[in-house]
Symmetry: C2
Subunit: 384 residues, 2 copies
């Protein structure tokens, strides 16, 4: 089978992008990706936009039609893909399918979200509507879930609070070398442990920020890619899965079954095991989530992910570097952009163009999750 | 190539569904489709939800994850597909690709929108945000575009005002026999011509209503369909395209280029011409739109669609019946559901199960449009 290739990537500066609106951010990333790849906009067949809530954040919908117009890609087909905070991963899946099904010869995916113009409480309220009403109407938001499940994890596996803080410390350190990151400053364990409590035991520095930004990827078949460039990576595995929409119905709250199931599909398709993964971008919306995912993806045994962090296994110079980009924690989490930006990082790691963040990697894995693991999409990429 | 089949369909009552919310409507259609097809929810691989704006209408997002939970389909992958008023068509395209790319063996598509709990002005405002800000911020809504372009069409092609009214009369007549339709009453030409002016020359009865409802389709490969049932239709052509996002930049405002381009793709893929189409469901959000589409799909020459309506060619007993379901005009237009409900009607027409609305048809075409033709998706279905 002709594999699906990514022939170029781009991302905007993540951060507080005052004066830019969602349409500006999407166009900026799209035009950069078009310029990088040299693809003529008129030759793009499908354009997918990963975005959760431009209507709620900005009172603007139809942003995918606007984007196609703005970048000169009419009459390309377009649709917006929403899978809450995993909209980027869902967009990757849609773009992959458009190529694999033969409907598109060249597909542009652009993910983005504009969030910082609203108050933190309003942004939290918009995000909360992605959970079950029985949860958010009683005040159980995603951060409070993170606190509850972190508490359970620490208790159940006798894990150290410091290991959670270490995730933040590690990802901030990596982010310093990422010019696109929202935060480019190191924090130490004391700073995390002394930051204000948000949801006990988690504190402010255990959470990713609210961020504006956009990222883009260009997809085509490998046979077509070969005619265009030497610089591409291939997607060899991809899969998505859901878990209960109410977290209290989970069989085991410290296991994200959607991550388990989506990664099993991706591993099977790529004919890989967790041991084959050289570098990974995980969805560290909260520090606890990176540890849970590192276990549910099969990198470490259940209840031992925290030890791997403490031992430096997931450091940039460790055995399995996780979130070399800085992760959502320091890079920022513009919902629809995050899954796309994960693959942006893996592309550069596999191509050997990650600059100061470069690690030795031939196979990378991205895991993007919606809600508190209500849905997950896992993508495996390989260099050629 | 193994073609993509639709093995079962369902739709809820369209209308004012007081007391039901978007989640209720989606679940109702989904469960009906599951029951009709006998597919066990756990055997569904992908679930797509076509919906434009549940966050704006209801303050509820994540509805696709909720649906998968509610119907017992966990761990099925899911995403929400938005292409404004063409979200249903875009969902069909996503579902088609999921099967054609081999990622899913069984895909459920559910389209729906809950709108009537808001005021008409609020609903119009939410819908208006799908157009370019330069338009809606200056008060140019979709209904006013319809008025402007109807005026131009009547003038340019010396068409009769009565032909527009006749579209409403025809579709209301068809809707009487559709038990799922929002309105099941005939109107006569005088009633249309004497209804209140909305956007000159168009009057209230030239417009579809604001409606709640949901519809669902079950997709699998034809080879799998054959093992399950004798009752299926195949999608032999599908294509989507965009046009300028600002209507005043169109080369010729009475031609919907997105319809032309999307249908050309679908015809080519199906190896069909407009002459091969036996029955069609068009996007008659406004009466003028049905006439424009009937020309841009190649059924009639440009400027002659109005004559076909006057001559009864598109009547249910005419040469090319259009909107046997009653169309958006009498069936109603719950944004995300409409494109799905179009194919619901064609399935029944091709299967010979359309009851009093039955026509003689082996090949059907659905055209779902977003905005004022900002995007269009055309689907061609055939009986086996």
């Amino acid at each position: 089978m002709d594999r699906v290739a990514i022939i170029g990537v781009s991302m905007t500066q993540f951060g507080v992008r005052e004066g830019s609106w969602i349409r500006d951010l999407l166009s900026e990333a799209a035009m950069d990706c078009i310029e990088t790849t040299g693809i003529v906009p008129k030759n793009i067949d499908h354009v997918y936009v990963s975005n959760m809530a431009s209507g709620e954040f900005e009172g603007q919908t139809g942003i995918m039609n606007a984007l196609v117009h703005d970048i000169g890609a009419i009459p390309a087909y377009t649709a917006r893909i929403d899978q809450t905070s995993a909209s980027g991963g869902a967009g990757i899946y849609a773009a992959w399918q458009s190529i694999a099904s033969g409907q598109s010869d060249m597909t542009l995916l652009v993910g983005g979200e504009k969030m910082t113009h609203t108050s933190t409480s309003m942004a939290t309220e918009i995000i909360s509507t992605l959970t079950h009403p029985v949860e958010y109407k009683h005040g159980v938001t995603l951060p409070s879930f993170a606190g509850l499940i972190a508490q359970l994890y620490l208790h159940k596996y006798n894990a150290s609070r410091e290991s959670l803080a270490k995730v933040a410390v590690k990802n901030h350190k990596n982010g310093v070398d990422n010019p696109h990151a929202h935060f480019r400053k190191e924090v130490d364990i004391e700073a995390v442990l002394n930051s204000p409590i948000v949801a006990d035991p988690l504190r402010l520095y255990d959470f990713c920020p609210i961020t504006d930004g956009s990222a883009a990827l260009m997809f085509c078949s490998e046979s077509r890619a070969k005619k265009i460039t030497q610089d591409y990576v291939v997607i060899t595995g991809i899969g998505g899965a859901t878990d209960t929409h109410v977290v209290h119905e989970r069989r085991e709250p410290t296991t994200l079954d959607a991550v388990v199931n989506s990664s099993n599909k991706a591993y099977e398709m790529a004919n890989k095991t967790p041991n084959d993964i050289d570098v990974a971008e995980l969805h560290d919306m909260f520090t606890i989530l990176e540890i849970l995912q590192s276990e549910d993806l099969g990198f470490f045994n259940k209840g031992e992910g925290w030890k791997a962090v403490e031992q430096g296994v997931t450091d940039i110079d460790g055995e399995l570097p996780i979130n070399t980009s800085g992760g959502l924690k320091s890079k920022g989490h513009p919902l629809g952009a995050s899954g796309v930006a994960q693959v942006h990082e893996l592309y550069h790691q596999l191509m050997g163009t990650a600059g100061k963040r470069q690690v030795d990697a031939k196979t990378g894995l991205a895991c993007n999750i919606g809600g508190f693991g209500n849905c997950a999409i896992t993508t495996i990429l390989e260099s050629i």
